[in-house]
Structures are given as structure tokens and as C-alpha cells.
Symmetry: none
């Protein structure tokens, strides 16, 4: 469901938030869909339940999730329609700029970078 990297620099609870947001923007998560329980997620990724709870709480405060007693967290009814591709690309911009800047500092050609991106894509898809 989520892919968590505890040593990635970005806090874990933020990784979860990001991923929920992304999947909602792209329609992979739709209103009414249920999220895994805090306990399940915590066990699956060997995380502290408080960490996941914090992510869910923040997403709820943002209005993206709704909590119903006794039931798992659900995706809230969308305030905004799903985003089109251009809008979703906008999400990626910071990561893109970061990548490009590093690559240029490391004197890596755009061709090589494209190759590497391609490789990373196929590897991540498996």
C-alpha cells in the first residue's frame, strides 16, 4: 500500500501523507476507499503506531480523510475534482528541480540522466 523508507531524510509521517495525497490526486484512491488500519500498517513496516496515527490525524485535519468510529479511515468526499496531468506534474516540480540541480553539479549529461531515470522506472515498476 505504502512504500516507506525510514532513512530517507523525509519524516515517515510525511511520507505517508504525501503518498495518500498523490494517490488521491491520480484517482488511485477514491472517496469511500478504506485505508489500512494503524495497527496493520505499523506491523507491516515495523513502525511506531503513533507515527501512522499522526499522519492519519493530519490528513483528517486537512479534510482528506474521515474517521468513523469503529471503522477504518476512509477517503473523504473530494472537495476538488481529481487533478489533470498538468496539475499532478506540478507536484513533482520540486523533486525534479532538485534532481536536475544535483545532476548538473555532478556533471552528468542529460542523456545519462534520462537513461538512469528509465532504469529506475522499470525497476520501481516490478
Amino acid at each position: 500500500m505504502f512504500s516507506i523508507n525510514p532513512s530517507s531524510g523525509t519524516p515517515i509521517y510525511r511520507q505517508i501523507i504525501e503518498q495518500v495525497r498523490h494517490k488521491m490526486a491520480s484517482g488511485q484512491l477514491k472517496p469511500g476507499d478504506e485505508l489500512p488500519s494503524v495497527r496493520d500498517l505499523a506491523q507491516e513496516h515495523a513502525l511506531n503506531p503513533m507515527t501512522i496515527s499522526k499522519a492519519y490525524t493530519l490528513l483528517e485535519a486537512e479534510g482528506l480523510l474521515v474517521r468513523q468510529r469503529g471503522k477504518p479511515m476512509q477517503i473523504a468526499a473530494l472537495k476538488q475534482p481529481e487533478m489533470d496531468e498538468v496539475q499532478r506534474l506540478a507536484y513533482l516540480l520540486p523533486a525534479l528541480q532538485n534532481l536536475v540541480q544535483s545532476a548538473q553539479q555532478l556533471n552528468i549529461s542529460p542523456e545519462r540522466l534520462m537513461q538512469a531515470l528509465d532504469a529506475a522506472w522499470t525497476q520501481e515498476s516490478e
Copy 2:
């Protein structure tokens, strides 16, 4: 010399490190060049000298600066003839994986991502 934003989220000492790296990469700082003294920088930006010292110390540990007692910090001669391309690409891997993962969660096609990367590259090059 440096532009510091104390409320930017990224720690001040890290901002300094970043900027030194960038200036070295872009040739604005060359081996043997001297950096502003800890005290001067501290006063100029109303910072605690230790904050700047920390940045300098870490840059020294990284091998980018050399210290000679009683003299200002200097840009180090590049000890590494150069990393080969494979190693440099390895540095990019985390950023790449992060990007690809986000893109897939946003349901963005590899083609679109490539386009966006291309655009970011040319924009960053200007």
C-alpha cells in the same frame, strides 16, 4: 557572500554548506580561495559564530575546505581526480527513486515524466 534565510526550514549551517558547494561547482570559488571569517559572517548575518563554525567544520570533514591555523578557511585542492560516472550516478539514485515513486503514485506516464525532466533541465541550465 552568502544569502541566509533563518526561517527557511533548512538549518542555517546547512544553507551555508549548500552555497559553498554550489559556488565550488560553478567555479565561483576555486581551490585556494579564502572564505569569510567566522566572526565576520556571524556579525553580518546576526548569527552565532558557532553556527558558521559548524558549517565550516563539516565542510572540512567532507574535504572541501582546508584549515590552516590562524588563517581563514580555504577551498581545498580537489583531492579526488574525479569520481567516475557510475559513482556520480549512484549519488543521484535516492533522488531518482523518490521521483519515480511519486510519479507512479501520481499516475504519470514515463513519457510525460521525461518531458518534464527535459523542461526542468533546460530551465535550470539558464
Copy 3:
């Protein structure tokens, strides 16, 4: 865990660094082992937490420790398969040159020096 001598001339944070290195080299600390918390160490030796933090930060910059938010510092997995012997010898060069220079100024014959080196080796091995 560590033995600290505040009046030994060598800075405290450096004593800690040294001892971590030694314990790793001798196998007393293995990858994944956790180090005492900054606060515990600080209290135990009546030091300022920042002093210990500095040591940990530098060890992390060196790649010997890894940090995971909210968890104690851990010994890093050895990323480098191993330096080849030439590189390791390069590390010794400054100490070697220093020794040779002193020996020559003391007018000590190379044979005597070799003998002394041999004796020091066996004594240190015990």
C-alpha cells in the same frame, strides 16, 4: 562505555570519536549496535550534550554512524567493501614521514629504527 579525560589535551569530542573507531576496528562495536544516548552520556560524564552530539555528528559525516530519527545512533553497515592496501598505506604516509624525519634528525640508523618499530609492533599486539 567510554572513558573520558577532560584534561587530556585532546578534545573530548575527539576522544569519543577515537574510541568509537577503535571499538569498531576491534569488533567490540558491530554494524547495527546502538550507542548510548547523547543525554545519558552527557550525564554520566558531566558533559554538555552538545559535546557528545558533535562527536556523533562527525562520525555520521564520516559514514561510521547512521541516524534514524527518534532512535539512538547506530553503527553503520560498512559501505566500503574495503580500501585496497595502497589506499590504506596512503593513510599512514604522514605518520611515516614524520617518524622518518625525526629519526634522521636524531641521527638514528635505519636499522635501529626498524628494530624499534618491530619492538613497538609486538608490544602493541599484546
Copy 4:
């Protein structure tokens, strides 16, 4: 006359003191011999004259040098006879132990170390 390494970790003034001591112990400098003037040394090694002056002053305070107005510093009449080789070797002990300890940590065989020492010796003799 002296070989100075400004980036060697040991302070410059201490390097000078050491070297004078060593040469006296081995008889390469005898009572009445004159040392180079502060100015000459400073110019030759691109050092701050104060640095050399400090070394000379400390040596004078120790009784190893005598200062006569208008004349260069001279080696003082020896309080102690020249040292025999055993005593001179004792001077080297700390450097030796340091070297051996590092070599063992780097997992360098005694044979290799001997080779390296030999090479350093011949190179330093040139």
C-alpha cells in the same frame, strides 16, 4: 635547516622546537652553533616571524639557546651530554606507537609496514 609542514597538525612553533631538540640530541647542532635569523627563516618558509620568534623564545627559556644582542641565536652550552642512541630512540616512541596503532587498525601487515618505512626513509634522504 628546518623542514616545516604548516598543515601537519602539530603547530609550527612546536615543529621548530622539536627539530632543534632533535638535532642537539644527535650532535648535529653543537654548543656555539648559530641558528638562522628569525627573518631569514620566516622568509624561507613563508612564515610569520612571530611564529619563529616564539619558538626561539621558548627554547631560550628552556636554556637550550642563548641570545646575544646583535648576534644570531646560539646553541647553549649543554647542561647534559649528548644522548646515546637509546635515549634518542625514546624520543621516537610516541610517534612509533601512533604509527603501529594506526597500521594495525588498518590491517596492514608488519612486512608491508617495514617496506613502506624503508621507502619513506630513502625518499626523505634525497
